[in-house]
Point group: C2
Chain length 222, copies 2
């Protein structure tokens, strides 16, 4: 599979036998919209290289609240789908396709022994983990530093930018799952945003009515 060299920058620094081992083990997989990776109990399938589509990485609290930690797009590598590689990684996240998503799976059992002896592979994993750790720290700062209305405004702008720039077709329930909040809270805040003229609500969609004011609200700190 010649594309592995495009996704994994340490490829050129692997020896021939490591490359052959990974090429032999790599496989393509397709996830449908809203399908979870590892849903068949294989929660540590391996590194996932996103060829097309979009992955959502989220956590679920004891009480069932979801919070989107970050999203991965074309060219990104999902590390936490290989979390069992790290003895000290003591948390679980879920990985879900947000639309039809094509990935290359580098199985954990093939990649782990290579990272163990190859410093370039291990350091690549370090950078990947540092990057995902950073995403989570930004989320912490967002949660601490912003009120829910600002976080919702930011999310609506992000969701709109993923469609036509003006319309959000995501349910209130999913918006709540992104924010770590409850559907009722989101519905109440959306009505407030509509009263203020920032959005227009209609069946199954939310239209951005005043992008400038939503952006201003999204930037507000608590």
């Amino acid at each position: 599979m010649q594309t592995l060299s495009e996704y994994f920058p340490f490829w050129a620094k692997l020896n021939e036998s490591d490359r052959r081992a990974l090429e032999g083990a790599a496989r393509k997989a397709k996830l449908s919209a809203y399908e979870r990776a590892g849903k068949n109990g294989d929660s540590c399938a391996g590194l996932l290289a996103v060829q097309s589509g979009r992955l959502r990485i989220y956590t679920v609290t004891e009480t069932g609240k979801e919070l989107t930690l970050y999203r991965l797009f074309e060219g990104d590598i999902c590390l936490l789908s290989a979390s069992c590689m790290f003895r000290s990684l003591q948390f679980a996240v879920r990985v879900e396709a947000e639309e039809e998503t094509q990935v290359i799976v580098l199985p954990t059992e093939s990649f782990r022994p290579i990272a163990e002896h190859s410093a370039p592979a291990a350091n690549y994993v370090n950078e990947l983990m540092a990057s995902r750790f950073s995403e989570v720290m930004w989320k912490v700062e967002e949660i601490l530093g912003k009120k829910m209305d600002s976080r919702l405004a930011e999310l609506l702008l992000e969701e709109a930018s993923l469609s036509d720039g003006k319309t959000v077709t995501v349910t209130h329930e999913r918006l709540a799952a992104h924010l770590g909040s409850a559907r009722e809270v989101v519905t109440r805040l959306l009505r407030y945003l509509q009263d203020e003229g920032m959005v227009r609500l209609s069946r199954g969609k939310i239209e951005i009515a005043d992008e400038a004011r939503l952006q201003k609200l999204a930037r507000e700190t608590a």
Copy 2:
């Protein structure tokens, strides 16, 4: 410095010249209570091995709120004091001694080149980062899953366990900084806990009056 082999499990797998380089570069440092590591602008001093005392790793939001992410004790290694080793680590934390703390500093400029070519060193860093990432994820789950009164109850029990098991001598302001909250909120909640008979407040200290009920409150999910 023969103690490096005790702190760093990859020591036995380094070659002789790497060991000599680290031994030559390592130095001891002492932090007073409430002194910040890297306060002289050197925010990327290196890995810190805690020989005695206690470090608090915390973040500060745009609006100046503090949140304690985790603490490090004797034998622990502080990784984020070497954050500039990782191009993809895009956040800053602060490191502060909570009491007089003795550390061994492994300077970033000496450790970085070794992690670049030594797979055992790089994999050790991976495990360290996975461990700190896990601490932050637990914090996220705590913030999402618990109300502030439960989080305060948990913190009071933790603080008491670090002193005599019964008394907390930390100011309301510092309790707020641990929780990512405001002093006023903490003072109000402490008065509520006192009204409920769970704590007794007096000048400069908080006594645990009903440990069992505090533990029950600490376990409650929102």
